[in-house]
Symmetry: C2
């Protein structure tokens, strides 16, 4: 009957505008009017797509996970090269990934004091965990993970290392492709092949 619109595309466009606002202005910029202006729509239209601020914030976290997942799924590599590419998707090595990461930590920090947002933040965190586990399994299948090493320990260590490198990259502005911090990650992965 009526004016049909692609609701999914709308919400996705709004959420992507939200990520841009989050990176440029931070949490305080994630307002109804601000996001609507960034998305180029009326505030009332945004309000139709997301009835509350909480719904918008929650969907932003979901979008980040979706985007990272999609990029990872599109990787056409194997073995160590795949592991490298996998982990790089979670680090601020360029503008696109930095955008996601800034938005991610902004909402993650908000979730520390906004209990309603914690489930979504924890879900995203578990996704990072899964990536680390998968990365180590790929290394193992490629024979680049020494049998004497403890997979669970290494997974948790890799996860912490990854997060720490990401935080460093965010604070220092950028993570140059061949820079010292990425070399730390690469060297760490190298060592996993030995005992």
């Amino acid at each position: 009957m009526p004016r049909r619109i692609d609701a999914e595309a709308r919400t996705a466009a709004i959420a992507e505008a939200s990520l841009r606002v989050l990176e440029r202005e931070g949490l305080s910029g994630l307002s109804v009017r601000g996001v609507a202006a960034e998305a180029g729509i009326a505030a009332a239209s945004l309000r139709r797509a997301f009835a509350t601020q909480h719904a918008l914030r929650e969907f932003c976290l979901q979008l980040i996970e979706d985007r990272v997942t999609a990029r990872i799924a599109a990787l056409e590599l194997t073995d160590r090269a795949l592991v490298d590419a996998l982990l790089l998707q979670l680090l601020p090595i360029d503008k696109e990934r930095r955008l996601e990461l800034v938005a991610h930590v902004q909402l993650g920090v908000l979730s520390l004091t906004d209990s309603a947002l914690r489930p979504a933040a924890i879900r995203l965190s578990e996704g990072v965990d899964r990536v680390c586990h998968v990365a180590l399994r790929i290394l193992a299948e490629a024979g680049q993970f020494h049998p004497s090493r403890d997979p669970e320990y290494e997974a948790q260590r890799l996860r912490a290392l990854l997060d720490g490198i990401a935080m460093y990259g965010l604070l220092s502005g950028e993570l140059p492709e061949g820079g010292p911090m990425l070399r730390v990650l690469s060297r760490h992965l190298d060592e996993l092949a030995g005992p």
Copy 2:
């Protein structure tokens, strides 16, 4: 002549109230009226101590550094036990350290979009770096850092690992003293003694 007051104690009390507010309510709670109420003083008095919001936020970061530094200086341990204690001061293992860390990341994330706050945030970050370097030097002097290892690489790796564990601890609520994440750190330090 006049009613003399301990300005230092006043600003410190205000900043400590700010940290409590930051942990309980997050960045949006760090308002003039909110902090003044938490500190039990009039808003105008807070405004006398800190003329702008930026001054207050900056001083909070400074206070965090001072508190951690003071705790570290008070440690009366040696060798590996000192290193353990040193690094634990930067992790959310109890309420006091969690308070500091939550406030730290809140302001750190704010500094991503508030360039005026970045110098202070970077200063605090460099303090963490120094702690990591010192920790490795203590290990080396205790003979628990294998000569074949690269000190600079290990310092950066330790720093990222520490930050990552801290972030995990914040998100998961608490870091139990003998929990898996602290065992990761301990085991990592163990490995530094070998080649």
